[in-house]
Symmetry: D3
Subunit: 162 residues, 6 copies
């Protein structure tokens, strides 16, 4: 049985919470695709291209992980690419009600062979989110250890350019 | 004892979750008014008139249900129309904390004879919302069985006109 | 439309949280039955007879409320007595997940015309329960205003007899 | 990559909620072991042997599912049998806080290659539990469609023997 | 040991929920600073100056409470002013998940001697928020007893000026 | 202002989650009393005397912490000993609803000058409890780093004596 997994998000930017889920998914599945959501109406700190580059750089040591982007209905992307599982991270302090709502809607839309599986976020990362990372960093607070080092370097460069 | 019930919402559009609550309220109360909230500052897919028409069409088989709209403070509308109960649907995966907050505020504002009563949404509809229906439908996903058939027809027409 | 409502519990003893729900139900429904659950395997402070007496005394001013007891499956009692609604109180700080589970099971077991309806407990009573009342009272703490006066008198008598 | 999954429980008895999780796990993993927890201090309706037999019978159509039992620390059983994933079902109306607590404790005790993965229980089964099934069934209520047919037969036999 | 406490918020406007927390904090700590958050990008009913004035007026009877404002990272303000505790109010019906997320992020950013402490909001105020107060008041509903009298006077004046 | 704080529990045994709260309380308050709850009807692993000894040993480096025990109503103990605050730890994954219920009941029973204050448990300890520690330890699992070293030594001795 060869299992193709998908992990999606805006990743603006990738945090260590995301990294931790991807690292664990890479052990569980034969192939993990990180799918960056294209959402032109949502203002982002990094462009789609920058985000894809940054994720590739952060994940360059994983042989079975690749980075793509998609737009439109998640279920169309999942069904047409024949993913077997969609991986989601659950944080203790958040997410559960929203995630269960999406999982139940997607259970209708996904091909019947596709499953949403949840991994519990490491408690040390359960309080972080991309938006909190951006806010704290932009105000000069330290986010050391909460985003991959290569990501922090890019955030510092972006902040310096403003 | 004759009980007049009110069920309010934006209904942009009415879903089968709403329909299910109205259907059950119609068995419990002598008269059920579906009160469409007029909120000019909120962008909607359907105009107020369209929404009222669509609800009337979907509910045309219920003798004791009528459709109205209102603006301003809910409590003013409730008190001046002498409703006895305000019906709310509770979804397992959401809503509870917001609903209890509103119910407690309204307990102060409603006439003392008015009660907020809650019906549990059918688990099969517990994950759907108007905004999710619009998003999935606009991206080409199937929402068959999640909104009344007459509503789906109107959504298809609206999408074709864009 | 004549609506017969049922409100069940162990009522060992009745608290002001219960009283508040019954008082409000009595305004909403033509007839409210307080159904005391007979559960021989559960140790209680007051006997079934005492509990029925105490509730009758506390509710003697309500013309449309009566007190009964039942054993076995709730749905059998509900269906055979042709109740129209089963009233439940929801406390902000508790109950929601358990209540939704029971409501969904009962939706299968009740006749299709029967509904479970929820009233939000008054915030001033949201923290009280029969077992907490018994524990605090037995340790000499004041529960004045948290149970009806006639109930408190009976609790004092029972404590004195020990 | 060959993935061995474990799904544990008391299964006293197996419900359709359990069955649904096992059925889905069997599509995701090369081998699924149903591990019945041996807990002599907990009174059960069916003996360990009966429960294993009943699960085998209910799952006889799944080629990659086998039934075992274990006692002691879950982590010892998982580590020594080299399971790769431990599957848990999450019900919308319950479980989340307990499950995250166990997952975080087990993350310390499991070998580093072992993951706890969560599947969301089908909303149609989100309200059922073994203990509720036993209670409703023993009181004569219908649990048709909530447990596998072969299980219901065994529950009827057990009830007749009492 | 002399403890300097900080209580922050937008206070647009101060409610009796806020007032209740400040009153209780003033008994627990030697000095309580009410820190008004400066957030130019967020539209407010009252200007920063108005809000500071209104809070001072409402709290004029407390000797150990003072009012300040700050912008930027909360942790910078806390660390540089050597506050010992940051006080937060928890409402039964809301807040918990957001608050725990912020507390965990701040535990990293605060000096190691700084603690976030939580007081439970009085149940009588657990349903109110500044935004709900503004909405209900602007629609003509009574918020008497939910905001300090001096604040209500200022809200009435502001509404009259529109 | 001199503040006397109380932190209560069964402490059967003290965990690093408890230790962490006490350590932080000792920085915030002039005097912290660890109050061991005497509950003869609850079976414990360690006797009251053992638990008091173990806590004293684990906390021997804190000058302003002392260990006592009490029985009966918490509020009586708090009021008669003139404690100013009762400290509670909140774990992300649990506790909140129970804690708010107790805090609201105690607000009635405590002298008006007494406050319940909550500290958020460190995320690294949010999943541990005394009962889980005992269960995992008794089954041979490692709880290293989850209880103080001196406590673990006592647990090992107790287990060896069985």
């Amino acid at each position: 049985m060869k299992i193709k997994a998908l992990y999606t998000g805006s990743f603006d930017p990738l945090t260590n919470g995301h990294f931790n889920i991807i690292e664990r998914a890479a052990k569980l599945y034969d192939e993990v695709t990180v799918g960056v959501i294209v959402n032109p109406s949502k203002k982002s700190m990094f462009t789609l291209e920058e985000r894809e580059d940054m994720i590739k750089e952060a994940l360059k040591d994983f042989d079975n992980v690749k980075v793509e982007h998609f737009s439109g209905l998640l279920a169309d992307y999942v069904n047409s690419n024949k993913f077997n599982v969609v991986v989601r991270g659950l944080r203790a302090t958040m997410d559960f009600e929203y995630e269960i709502q999406m999982a139940q809607m997607n259970a209708r839309l996904f091909d019947s062979s596709v499953e949403t599986v949840f991994l519990m976020t490491d408690p040390g990362y359960s309080f972080i989110s991309s938006s909190m990372m951006k806010e704290v960093h932009s105000l000069g607070g330290s986010i050391d250890g909460l985003v991959p080092e290569s990501i922090l370097k890019r955030m510092n460069e972006k902040l310096a350019c403003k």
